[in-house]
Amino acid sequence: MNLHVPQPIVSVRDLSVHFHSASKIISAVNGVSLTVARGESVALIGESGSGKSVTLRSLMRLHPEKTTAIKGRIEIDGADVMTMSSSTLSAFRGSVTSMIFQEPLLAFDPVYTVGEQIIESVRRHCRLSRKDARAVALEALRSVRIPSPEQRLEAYPHEMSGGMRQRAMIALALACKPRLLLADEPTTALDATVQIQILLLLRELQREMGLSIIFVTHDIGAAVEIADRVAVMYGGRIVEEAPLATLLANPCHPYTVALLSSRPEGGLSKGSRLETIPGSPPDLSRLPEGCAFAARCKYASEACKKSFPGRVAVSPEHYVSCHRFPESA
């Protein structure tokens, strides 16, 4: 129909994810809508328990089906992920969309070499001989700038350094040329100097391959390096969404403001204290009716406790969900 508007790579509508445990229901994600354009990189930012990783993993339906209730619409590269059969789903994982993890040591099987694991993935999706798959794996290791890739193919995960392992993980994820990369806090477990190398590598690869990236992090500094657009999550909802520069210059949601001010600007001087957000994240098994941040918000009013605020555009491409920005305005 509308041929000149390119179809987005990811379109999520009203996603909600609830985990059922024996005694309670945990509402990890409560109505997330997100669109990612082709070649775009979006950062999901939030504290632990904000639902960012859960959202990310839902995009590949990686949660155990027995205990998880997912609702909403997930469309990736034109395909409806929610209705995929298990064989379609596993063919889709790793070829169209792939994922990198926070702790690559845990994300690799410890008893297989890194090479075997990349080859396994390549052969799963590309019907190649062992020899050809090995060549693809070698090329993948080369593309993530791993020194002496031939030897790394034969190495076990525990024989590599943290940064090297994350590079190998990226090589594995990108070996089958996916269009979308889901990155689940890929730099959190790394040293600061290695973090920046990995972020730069991801950005380079993104440009080379025309990749779209959804990058989950709690570290705004990491998001700044990689994201075109940022979505801030709290209590399983996106509370603010804007292009990176807009968000940094003009944060609207009180949570975003608090998040931005609780980081050391240009290094902390001796004796001064880092600003923190008072209170603790909400209990996901007993979320309040209204805004989940109300209990910690200094602007909270009666309205905040009663209903969840709607999504409002404060400027083009800049959306916020907060009663201080009423829908009528």
Binding site: R57, M60, L62, S86, S87, S90, A91, F92, R93, G94, S95, S98, M99, F101, E103, L106, A107, F108, D109, P110, V111, Y112, T113, E120, S121, R124, H125, Y156, H158, L172, A173
Partner: protein
């Protein structure tokens, strides 16, 4: 790898010496006079003294130990007091019989243990898991000599399907892998396999559950592997520990089947130990315990080497 094996072999030497000392001392501490069983109750003092000198019981303990050890390492474990045959050949014949039985029992145990363990681990907290758990708890807690008697009652005296006792057809010497011989193994092997089945099942269940809960399983799913592909990874992760447990079970069965071998009159080390104890046959007892202990040491060594081959994280240094 060669250097690793050599180092492990060298480390085994002090262990074997320690084992030798322990079995020598154990028998010395045990109450009872070994000569009671060879001498008539009304034997004269001269005859007693003569026998004591002949067996070397008059020498100091360290000298007895050194002499015993010196002969032991040359394969001479002395002469059985009860049968007057060399202990070494008695023990070896029995050990081979026991090994054959233990091997079959461990294989059965490994097969069913892995089967129950994988099913329970994969279907955690379902009725299948509970059923498998009931089997394994039954396996480790039922007295196996009692189970042996029960099997004899059902399959031998009621159904006349299998022989009740013995290590082969009457009059036959040696062993052959034909039905006439193998049928004697079936009931004792099943009885002996019950404990390893239970232990291996519980170990494998825990291993599978632990492996399935790891992050890399999500990683494998995320790269598009189906359940069969993931199963392969679970097996390789569980294999080193499962094999170690199986190896140790084989070792336990070699020496720990006194009751079952006695119930079935299986001519193995268990039966030999039993008769050595009751006849106060000191050389035979020492020799049997020592050979069993050595067997355990060697088995541990093999398991360790196998584990390093399977799990790259175990350092070979």
């Amino acid at each position: 790898m060669g250097a690793y094996i050599l180092r492990r072999l060298l480390l085994a030497i002090p262990i074997m010496l320690g084992v030798a000392l322990v079995c020598f001392m154990l028998v010395q501490i045990a109450p009872g006079d070994p000569l009671v069983s060879v001498l008539p109750p009304d034997a004269s003092q001269e005859l007693r003294a003569q026998m004591i000198t002949a067996y070397g019981f008059d020498q100091p303990l360290p000298a007895q130990f050194m002499k015993w050890l010196w002969h032991a390492v040359q394969g001479d474990l002395g002469t059985s007091i009860a049968t007057s045959r060399p202990v070494f050949s008695e023990v070896m014949t029995a050990a081979i019989n026991s090994l054959r039985l233990a091997f079959l029992a461990t294989l059965i145990g490994f097969f069913f243990g892995c089967l129950f363990g994988f099913v329970a681990g994969y279907f955690q907290d379902t009725w299948l898991d509970r059923l498998a758990s009931v089997f394994s708890v039954f396996g480790v807690s039922v007295p196996h000599y009692w189970l042996g008697m029960l099997l004899v009652i059902v399959f031998s005296t009621q159904l006349y399907l299998l022989p009740a006792t013995g290590g082969g057809p009457v009059g036959a010497s040696g062993w052959a892998w034909d039905w006439a011989h193998v049928q004697f193994m079936i009931l004792p092997a099943i009885t002996l396999s019950v404990i390893p089945t239970g232990i291996i099942a519980r170990t494998v269940r825990a291993l599978v559950a632990e492996t399935l809960a790891q992050e890399f399983i999500v990683g494998l799913r995320a790269k598009g592997l189906g359940e069969s592909g993931i199963f392969r990874h679970v097996v390789k992760n569980a294999a080193p520990t499962a094999l170690a447990v199986m190896g140790l079970q084989l070792g336990y069965l070699m020496g720990g089947s006194i009751l079952v071998e006695t119930v079935f009159a299986w001519p193995g080390t268990g039966l030999l130990l039993n008769s050595a104890i009751f006849q106060r046959d000191l050389p035979l007892l020492q020799g049997t315990i020592w050979v069993l202990a050595l067997f355990f040491v060697v088995l541990n060594l093999l398991v360790d080497i196998l584990q390093t081959l399977l799990d790259p994280r175990i350092k070979r240094a």
